[in-house]
């Protein structure tokens, strides 16, 4: 087994640079529930 260690770093802001619409780290979409 591999060591139980965290291998991924937090890159949320970096990955969300391509998102069409983001606020506070969340992806924005049109309203789903009326």
């Amino acid at each position: 087994l591999r060591p139980d260690a965290v291998t991924e770093s937090d890159q949320r802001d970096h990955f969300q640079e391509n998102a069409p619409s983001v606020t506070d780290g969340l992806y924005l979409v049109p309203k789903v529930i009326e």
Partner: protein
């Protein structure tokens, strides 16, 4: 001898001898691209500044005695490979605004070996096409005749190498997308074994068929590059942990005694007669080098195109569902609700051929049809793979034409998908069976280049490269340069 005419091996020798620097090579090729690409449309993005920086790092590495296998060698990546901080479009409006946040494994490995990336090559949208006409950025033109298609989907990669923009360009092959454009542009195209080269960071089309490879002018350069690209990658679950042979070191070995299989079905109707003659002449050259030929039978090979056009669209319909306009890629303006956002973003972002394949794939996977189409296609695929397995009991490589005809005119087949799909009739079998294959320039028909197609057993890239290299030592087809690009 001008720098642009040189192969990777010749550039490496010159860099080692101090005849020129990587920066000089990079700058001269960038000038060449700027002067000529208007005619070809082979590139979507140029990365000139980053290239000069990478070249100067390569020169510093060489001065410090740390030259990697691709030190200072200019390359172009097909725009299907993610390149950190650089636009990665996959030939689609859907990704016209996508700046990749990370590098594909092969991009990383080639950079670590010292390669200098000059830009990103045009391609059929999401690699779906055989003529480069489905690209959102317009068709690539064939350097041998600007009215004709360079093949596809890796048409930009093939045209760039044929026009001497770079000695090597990366490419991908799902049904022939490396080998077919290589054949139509007088270049060498190598599709490795499924699992030989990592696909991490390569935008997926049909995951059970896709494989990354390389287009060059010589088998020797393909061997050099494959040595860097190949190898296990824990980030790709289909990557196979097999040792990487010394391709470049083994290329000089003789092919005496090599058993070459000739597929009876590949010389039937459908093949242009002059192409058939040229391919037979090239097989005679292999015989003169000590190879023996045996006729082999692939009884189910005729089913490869219909099988492929069930399996590939099915997988594409699933893979391309990720493009929804939410996290990245094209988003439609002023959507009424989430469903409208999905429908319009996808409707606006994808071109006609991509939509055709998504719809075909969704249909063959739909409830009640799965057993009749997708499951049946997978069973036929197994029969085709078994045919190859039986044939390889008696032979080491299988030889034949890469394409049924030389390059066709732009616009000739784009409205007739079935005729277009038949362009890959000789190449698709290798994808269905996961086998490595290479196309090597083997002559001209009506002043247009064609290719000799060699297929090997799993992980027999070294045999294919050796066979292609020995053939190129005896012939000079690959040294011919298109008139407009001399």
């Amino acid at each position: 001898m001008a720098l642009y005419t040189k192969t990777m091996s010749e550039l490496t020798a010159g860099l080692e001898a101090g005849e020129f620097t990587a920066v000089e090579v990079t700058e001269s090729l960038l000038e060449r691209i700027a002067a000529h690409d208007e005619k070809l449309n082979a590139l979507i993005t140029l990365t000139g500044d980053a290239a000069v920086e990478a070249a100067s790092r390569a020169d510093a590495d060489r001065a410090a005695g740390n030259a990697g296998a691709l030190n200072g060698l200019p390359v172009i990546h097909k725009d299907i490979f993610c390149t950190r901080g650089v636009k990665t479009t996959c030939g689609s409006k859907m990704l016209d605004n996508f700046i990749s946040p990370y590098d594909a494994t092969i991009v990383e490995r080639m950079a670590a070996a010292g390669a200098v990336v000059l830009g990103k090559a045009n391609m059929d949208e999401f690699a779906m096409g055989s003529s480069n006409e489905t690209s959102y950025f317009g068709p690539v033109r064939n350097p041998w005749d600007l009215e004709r298609a360079p093949g596809g989907s890796s048409g930009g990669s093939a045209a760039s190498v044929a026009a001497r923009f770079v000695p090597a360009a990366t490419a991908t092959d799902t049904g022939g997308s490396i080998r077919q454009p290589a054949a139509l542009t007088n270049t060498v195209g190598l599709k490795p074994t499924y699992g030989r080269v990592s696909r991490f960071g390569m935008i997926a089309f049909a995951s059970s068929l896709d494989q990354a490879g390389i287009i060059t002018r010589t088998a020797e350069d393909a061997a050099r590059t494959l040595g860097v690209m190949a190898g296990f990658d824990e980030r790709d679950s289909t990557s196979i942990d097999e040792p990487v042979p010394n391709y470049l070191g083994e290329i000089g070995d003789s092919i005496k005694g090599l058993r070459v299989g000739i597929v009876r079905q590949h010389f039937d109707e459908g093949l242009d007669a002059d192409c058939g003659t040229k391919v037979k002449e090239s097989i005679a050259v292999l015989e003169s080098l000590g190879a023996t030929t045996v006729e082999v039978d692939l009884p189910n090979i005729d089913l490869s195109v219909p099988t492929y056009y069930v399996v590939a669209p099915a997988e594409c319909s699933s893979n391309l569902s990720r493009f929804d306009g939410v996290r990245f890629g094209h988003r439609a303006d002023n959507a009424d609700d989430l469903f409208d956002l999905y429908c319009r973003s996808r409707g606006e972002g994808f071109g006609d051929e991509v939509k055709r394949r998504i719809m075909t794939g969704t249909y063959v996977l739909s409830a009640g049809y799965y057993d009749a189409y997708y499951l049946k296609a997978q069973q036929v695929r197994q029969l085709i793979a078994d045919d190859f397995r039986r044939a390889f009991a008696d032979v080491d490589v299988i030889a034949g034409p890469t394409t049924p005809t030389p390059a066709f005119k732009l616009g000739d087949k784009v409205d007739d998908p079935i005729t277009m799909y038949l362009n890959d009739i000789y190449t698709i079998g290798a994808n269905l069976a996961g086998l490595p294959a290479i196309s090597v320039p083997c002559g001209f028909v009506n002043d247009l280049p064609i290719g000799l197609h060699l297929v090997g057993t799993h992980f027999a890239e070294s045999t294919l490269l050796r066979c292609a290299h020995q053939y190129q030592l005896q012939t000079d087809w690959h040294t011919a340069c298109p008139e407009d690009f001399k």
